[in-house]
């Protein structure tokens, strides 16, 4: 390409542009030139190549290239290799996998895959691996597989084919029968060529994560390969990298073994420990240079990880701990970094933290390392190794370090400190001290969830309340201003200020003044919260009512409507003739329901999905428990299945996704926030609730006697064909409920929490008026129904009447409510089922991530709280329709949670009012397109809810929407 003079000149030109403007001018000129050249029809291959090269250079400099794609496609089918090569390069750099242009490439790529010349095969493979769109995967995967397994393929084609297949599998796992290919692919791990072995092992590493049982054979092969390298020294000398034989392949094999449970076979076990011993032994060699020590350590660290995985309490691990102890004080930063990271792995798995705690001093020092990367690892390790015995030291060290910590690390540190303080608190006072010190130090870096959590814990632990109130008052007394502290202070004093009112310096007026001194510095939200605190003060301390009322009075005229409303209402409540209302409103908050700390959720959220699964998680032993459980289950499945691998094609969710977990009872991330914020609106929301609960509204109350229809719906048969509209209305919010020759009944509905409103439209299609018309929709104690507004009394021909219904769910129900209409003075009746079912009171959840989903899923567990059914669909399954259906039933569909993209995973919360409470719902629907069947699984904490949901979904899934 140095032959392309025009290109060299162009590059030199660009390099001479000293300012961006000049470069831009030159680029624009060239783009215009190339555009006009591309319009000419008689460009030869060389010219096209040259111009495409220029475009590529501009691309590297960061200029958007929006033309030239067709010319690149042209070059690909050139017979000249140099042109073909540039064509492919351009395609891989400039094409988007979903671009329509990819279609144009597929044919020439296929031709090159079939070409006799391997060098063209390679170009094609490389392009597929880089672009990898669905279209390519569907039409080319079989060819790629053929190149991989064909005995006539050269090694350099095979290794590329292996990685290409891997790429296609990652992107579109459904388009190829990888389980059928297992045996052939695994056998290629034995290939003599180490390049092929490396690529194939990489491929198997990915396949084994998705299909552990089918690919179980790879375990022995990996052990065998390591033996050949480490014991038999059977490798091509070319693959020695700075004295270490093929470190990359060793690392891959060692990692592959970590995706399987420790082997049962004692021979295999002893083989592996021999290998690990050899690797540890090798690490004693003094490395000759940096590359040598890098390669050696790469293998060593992976070996230690495997040793920890196999048995964290083995002697090898004890040796490893010693080695790591040396590493973390190494002079070389890379080694310190990896030493700390691997030690965090050890700490996350091992039973006894003693060997690690021996290095506690060094690890704490690493928080002050000059390199932020090392500091982060140090933090992770300290977090993982914290337990009852060293919590005080570790936490106070972290707190001290927080004051000087990098801005980028502070938020995470705050979370970690808060979690450790909660987890390992032995004395309440210690917890309160630490957490308030944390809030006072970190100020703005303290996320809302931290202080919510403090309030929860203080509210739920009576022993804490007095001390917390006292300490927080102390902090408020300091001249330093810290808004989070004011919020905590305001809340805690409002709730528990009376517990300390008799101590010196804590009198009601002093409490009020301490809070109010900061009032004007605070944001509007905080001020609103403080007003609530003040109204609680009025209730707790009548003696300072005067001062507080002055504030309310003043804020009655403030511009912000929220503050104004609160001030007015609180003033009104405080100045009522009796204190009854005030006392009711300011009743002490009940304890919060026990639930998982949102802090952990927040921390774990940050660990997102990567291409490969993590083999361990930062955190203590329990954080890794679930993964280990998953592996154990896999081990037992492996034993049960011995050779019949096909039966177990569907591993359980935990195996597919191993995610961190620790404490019980997860919740939606937002729930705590809701609970805690609810007190903000205490008076307002309680008023609203009262309104909603006041039975019939005045209008209805007056109108009702006239309209009353006493006949029960059960006395009238349901009309034929009512199911059609009824069934459809179950998963739509509006539509026709029933239609016959005389009339049409349609329904519109909206739901909010446990409340719903339905508008029933009745259209008179006949020539006669419907006069009079009366309705009856009986309530039950689980579901109340009220007619509101003007109930239509007559409907003229070709006119429409509208009946408004208010429904409220009080408890789990499975009885479908009825609506009875009486026309023309009892001559005619129509009995319909109202489309009011449990799912109508559901709110979809779409923000839950895979980790939270599976954690919750596992906590609910199997039957009886799980309800599962296999459904044979009577109509062809169409995924799009199913999606609409599930969403119609108000399930939030979670994308990317299930590894199989055809499966649906859904979540929601059903609000069943006062008696039923809120119930979280999880759903998994696995369609089997070949057999036209589904497996439907519903898990909720309530047996009857699970069953009811299953019943509701079963019919539409069977007979189609």
């Amino acid at each position: 390409m140095s032959a392309m003079r025009g290109l060299t000149v162009f590059i030199a030109d660009i390099r001479n542009c000293r300012v961006r403007e000049l470069e831009e001018k030159r680029i624009n000129k060239e783009m215009a030139n190339i555009r006009s050249k591309f319009k000419e029809t008689n460009l030869n291959g060389y010219q096209k190549k040259k111009y495409v090269c220029k475009l590529l250079y501009m691309y590297i400099l960061g200029w958007e290239i929006d033309f030239g794609h067709l010319e690149a496609v042209n070059l690909i089918s050139s017979t000249k290799y140099s042109e073909k090569q540039i064509g492919y390069l351009a395609v891989t750099l400039l094409f988007h996998e979903n671009s329509d242009l990819v279609r144009l490439v597929v044919n020439s790529t296929k031709k090159d895959l079939d070409d006799m010349n391997e060098i063209n095969n390679c170009l094609a493979l490389h392009a597929i691996a880089n672009i990898g769109g669905r279209e390519m995967a569907e039409s080319l995967a079989p060819d790629v597989h053929r190149l991989l397994i064909s005995p006539t393929s050269k090694s350099f084609v095979k290794k590329k084919a292996a990685l290409t297949l891997l790429r296609l599998f990652r992107k579109h796992p459904d388009v190829m029968p990888v389980t059928d290919w297992a045996e052939r692919i695994i056998s290629l791990m034995e290939d003599y060529d180490l390049g092929v072995a490396l690529s194939v092992t990489t491929l198997v590493l990915a396949l084994a994560q998705s299909h552990p049982l089918e690919y179980a054979g790879c375990y022995e092969k990996a052990v065998h390969r390591l033996k050949r390298i480490l014991i038999d020294r059977d490798y091509s000398l070319d693959y020695i990298y700075y004295k270490v034989p093929t470190p990359w392949l060793q690392v891959k094999c060692l990692r592959l073994l970590q995706y399987y449970p420790p082997p049962e076979d004692p021979k295999l076990r002893s083989d592996i420990s021999e290998l690990l011993q050899i690797i540890m032994g090798n690490s004693q060699d003094a490395p000759k240079n940096v590359q040598h020590s890098n390669a050696q350590n790469a293998v060593l660290f992976e070996a230690i990880n495997l040793a920890i995985h196999l048995d964290s309490n083995s002697t090898i691990c004890a040796q490893a701990a010693q080695l790591l102890g040396r590493f973390i004080s190494s002079k070389e930063t890379n080694v310190r970094y990896l030493g700390l990271e691997t030690m965090a792995h050890l700490a996350a798995c091992v039973d006894s933290l003693e060997p690690i705690k021996r290095h506690q001093e060094t690890i704490m020092m690493s928080l002050r390392d000059k390199d932020i990367s090392v500091r982060r690892r140090g933090l992770d390790l300290l977090y993982s190794m914290c337990d009852m015995t060293n919590a005080k030291v570790v936490v106070s060290e972290l707190l001290r370090y927080l004051q000087v910590a990098d801005y980028a690390m502070r938020e995470e540190m705050v979370l970690k400190i808060a979690i450790l303080a909660e987890k390992f608190a032995t004395a309440y006072s210690w917890y309160v001290d630490i957490i308030l010190q944390l809030i006072s130090t970190a100020g703005e870096q303290v996320g809302e969830e931290v202080w919510f959590r403090v309030v929860q814990i203080v509210t739920n632990n009576e022993e804490l309340q007095e001390y917390a109130a006292k300490t927080v008052l102390n902090y408020l007394g300091s001249p330093q201003y810290n808004e989070t502290m004011v919020k905590v202070g305001g809340y805690i004093l409002g709730e528990f200020g009376h517990l300390i009112a008799n101590y010196p310096g804590c009198s009601p007026i002093e409490q009020f003044q301490a809070v109010h001194a900061k009032f004007n510095l605070c944001s509007l939200n905080t001020r609103a919260l403080l007003l609530t605190t003040y109204v609680k003060f009025v209730n707790l301390f009548p003696e300072i009512k005067g001062q507080v009322l002055t504030v309310f009075n003043q804020y009655r005229y403030v511009l912000d409507s929220e503050l104004q409303q609160r001030a007015c209402e609180y003033l009104a409540v405080s100045t009522m003739q009796t204190d009854d209302m005030l006392q009711t409103v300011c009743e002490e908050m009940p304890p919060f329901p026990e639930r998982e700390s949102t802090l952990l959720l927040k921390l774990n959220q940050k660990i997102g999905d990567t291409e490969d699964k993590r083999v361990w998680f930062i955190g203590g032993k329990e954080a890794n428990l679930e993964r280990q459980e998953g592996l154990k289950r896999m081990a037992s499945m492996r034993m049960n299945s011995t050779d019949s691998t096909t039966n177990n094609a569907q591993p359980s969710p935990t195996q597919q996704k191993q995610q961190p977990t620790s404490n019980p009872a997860p919740s939606q991330p937002s729930q705590t926030a809701m609970d805690l914020l609810a007190f903000d609106d205490l008076t307002i929301s309680s008023n609203n609730n009262n309104n909603a609960n006041v039975p019939p509204s005045p209008a209805a109350a007056v109108a009702a006697p006239i309209q009353e229809l006493t006949k029960s719906p059960n006395e009238v048969q349901l009309p034929q064909g009512y199911e059609l509209g009824y069934n459809q209305s179950l998963y739509t919010s509006e539509g026709v409920l029933y239609e016959n020759a005389q009339l049409q009944v349609s329904v519109k509905s909206e739901y909010h929490g446990s409340h719903g409103r339905l508008a029933i439209y009745i259209t008179n299609k006949s020539m006669m008026p419907l006069d009079p018309i009366r309705f009856n929709a009986p309530s039950t104690d689980k579901l109340s129904i009220q007619m509101t507004g003007d109930v239509p009394k007559k409907i003229n021909p070709a006119e429409q009447g509208c009946l408004l219904l208010q429904v409220e769910c009080h408890d789990m129900f499975n009885e479908i409510p009825s609506l009875l209409m009486e026309f023309n003075g009892g001559n005619d009746y129509l009995h319909l089922k109202l489309p009011v079912v449990l799912t109508k009171f559901q709110e979809p959840i779409t923000t839950m991530d895979g980790a939270s989903f599976f954690k919750r899923w596992n906590q609910i567990g199997g039957a009886p709280r799980e309800n599962q059914v296999i459904i044979t669909a009577q109509v062809p399954i169409q995924l799009e329709t199913v999606r609409t259906l599930l969403q119609g039933f108000k399930f939030g569909l979670l994308i990317g949670v299930d590894p199989n993209p055809n499966n649906f995973v859904g979540a929601g919360v059903i609000d069943m009012g006062k008696a039923g409470g809120k119930v979280g719902v999880l759903l998994r629907l696995e369609p089997n397109l070949e057999q036209n069947m589904y497996r439907l699984t519903v898990r909720t904490p309530s047996e009857s809810v699970s069953e009811q949901l299953r019943v509701l979904l079963e019919r539409p899934l069977t007979f189609g929407a």
């Binding site: 390409m1 140095s2 032959a3 060299t8 691309y59 590297i60 400099l61 960061g62 200029w63 958007e64 290239i65 017979t79 000249k80 290799y81 140099s82 042109e83 390069l89 010349n117 060098i119 493979l125 490389h126 691996a129 880089n130 290794k159 990685l163 290409t164 891997l166 790429r167 990652r170 180490l194 390049g195 490396l198 690529s199 990489t202 070319d238 693959y239 990298y241 470190p247 990359w248 690392v251 940096v290 590359q291 890098n294 390669a295 790469a298 660290f301 930063t333 890379n334 970094y337 990896l338 000059k370 390199d371 990367s373 940050k606 997102g608 990567t610 291409e611 490969d612 699964k613 993590r614």
Partner: protein, 173 residues
């Protein structure tokens, strides 16, 4: 997997941009700048690993880089790659460049950017390590060049642009 391979110089000017995920050009350039600003501030004595590019995967992403003379070689990887393995791979990449260009320097990468891509494609494919054996890599490149010649392209073979300072002279790690 490897998410991206970048080469840029001491001033943040990109010399090679290769992404193994689909990312639009604006983000690509923003990423180069983000990583440049992270990496260029670090003295050569600190470790070769950085955590969390915000634009490319957040906390689970590792930035692994080496600094040779005027150039930074950066691999952005997820947590399933061995850090030291990638560090070694950068070394293999640079040594392969050095063999193909006979004492490689920044100018070679500028004027023969296509060559650099071809060499990289023999080492990493679709985000996965393809080959680590230098002899294999160089042989594959020679094979390509032979094919080019046969197909009639008049490669002069004189990789004439040369600057006094080669990368090898500046190996620091």
């Amino acid at each position: 997997m490897i998410k991206s391979v970048l080469i840029f110089n001491n001033h943040g000017k990109p010399r090679l941009i290769k992404f193994y995920q689909q990312i639009d050009i604006a983000t690509q350039q923003a990423l180069v700048q983000e990583i440049y600003s992270l990496v260029s501030k670090r003295p050569d004595t600190v470790c070769n690993f950085l955590e969390g590019s915000k634009l490319l995967g957040g906390k689970d992403t590792r930035v692994i880089y080496r600094h040779y003379a005027t150039l930074y070689f950066v691999f952005v990887v997820d947590e399933s790659e061995s850090e030291l393995g990638i560090l070694d791979l950068i070394q293999v990449f640079v040594e392969s460049l050095d063999r193909c260009f006979e004492n490689v320097c920044e100018l070679d990468l500028i004027f023969h950017f296509d060559e650099v891509h071809h060499i990289l494609s023999e080492i990493v494919q679709g985000g996965m390590v393809l080959e680590t054996n230098m002899n294999e890599i160089v042989a594959a490149i020679n094979e390509m060049n032979k094919a080019k010649k046969k197909s009639g392209s008049t490669t002069t073979g004189s990789l004439s642009v040369r600057a006094s300072e080669t990368l090898r002279a500046g190996f620091r790690h």
